[in-house]
């Protein structure tokens, strides 16, 4: 593939998907803006390098989220977390839409989940993937997604109890 063609297609992909990728990454990293940006940069770089695979995928968008999730899980498996990719701009300070108390509670609840359970929650309840799609992203059986999701939701109910009742969530 010619580099110019790849650049054009990749740019369109980034323009269309980066915001959502960053938001998903912020949930995976429990609101850590720098780590989320690091994660998305790493993911997009992998996508650029493997662009021919991306465009051959049945769903290039899903391919991106799979790469994001796998990159996140790979990072968490390593002993040392890294967050020092240099960017040309400094990430913005967060301006979440929820009130600060609710936001803090939600992020604390997410932090209490194992990385894989957190990935399940993001895939199933933020990105709205069905069980089969989430299983494909995570490379596991649908039953595993269901069980991980159930455990994660139980934890969220426990931590977010009052907030959930107030908002009628879950």
């Amino acid at each position: 593939m010619r580099e110019k063609t790849r650049d054009t297609a990749f740019s369109e992909y980034v323009a269309g998907q980066r915001v959502r990728l960053v938001r998903a990454a912020r949930l995976l990293t429990v609101g850590d803006e720098a780590e989320a940006e690091d994660l998305v940069q790493a993911t997009l770089t992998k996508l650029y390098v493997n662009w021919s695979r991306v465009i051959r995928a049945d769903d290039p968008v899903a391919y991106g989220y799979r790469s994001l999730t796998n990159t996140f899980l790979d990072e968490r498996r390593r002993a040392h977390r890294r967050r020092e990719v240099v960017t040309d701009t400094t990430p913005e300070v967060a301006h979440p839409t929820a009130d600060p108390d609710t936001r803090r509670l939600v992020l604390e609840a997410l932090e209490g989940l194992a990385p894989r359970q957190r990935a399940v929650i993001v895939l199933r309840h933020f990105l709205q993937y069905d069980v089969a799609a989430a299983a494909e992203v995570l490379g596991c059986a649908e039953g595993t997604v269901k069980s991980q999701n159930a455990k994660a939701l139980a934890h969220l109910r426990e931590v977010l109890g009052a907030s959930l009742h107030a908002e009628g969530a879950l």
């Binding site: 580099e3 650049d7 990749f10 740019s11 980034v14 323009a15 980066r18 915001v19 960053v22 938001r23 912020r26 949930l27 609101g31 803006e33 940069q41 790493a42 997009l44 770089t45 992998k46 996508l47 650029y48 390098v49 662009w51 390593r78 040392h80 890294r82 967050r83 020092e84 990719v85 240099v86 960017t87 040309d88 701009t89 990430p91 913005e92 967060a94 301006h95 979440p96 839409t97 929820a98 609710t102 936001r103 939600v106 992020l107 997410l110 929650i121 993001v122 309840h125 933020f126 709205q128 969220l156 977010l160 907030s163 959930l164 908002e167 009628g168 969530a169 879950l170």
Partner: protein, 204 residues
Amino acid sequence: MSDLQTLLAGAVDDHVDLDVAADVRRGRSAVRRRRLTLVGGIAAALILAGGAATALVRPSILPLHSADTVTATVHAGAFVIPPPPDGWSVQAADESLVVIAPDGLPKVDLHDPSLSLRVAGKLSIHLVPGGIDSPEAGPTIDYDGRSFFDNEHGGVGTQVGVREASGDWLVLQEAPRLGWTVQQMVEYLDAVVLTSDAVPDPGA
């Protein structure tokens, strides 16, 4: 939208700075680095096949080039390098690689499989196995009696390199934010000296 989705969506900022060009630049740099790594790997195989394996483990100690233009030097891993630019410092170094980054960034793990991503945007000096004419086709710059290659002159993520007496390639990858010219890169790289501990990157 489920209630949980509302809570999740509300917990993170929906404002994202979009710099598509920066993502493209990082991608291009990663591709270039991978190509260089692949070429280096082929070179290493050629050297080993030719019975010149000693070049991989015993690089020669080379004289300092352009010593009169360098007021101070910094020991970084197995390299002696000119002082980093103002506000930058050596972030990590070993026998094959030096990473120079803006002050204050945490150390990078040089054995990280995704190191290329961690090096993106930083100034790096990399010793890779030689054995071929040039890691990348590109114009040649003659300086200080040596020939340097420039694999993408005028572009972002430029690398310049020079073949050392050992036959290995010493490569400098630019940090785009420094805005260095190819000539500045050549002059900086020319002043880099290998110590007897320097070893071409076995992963390259």
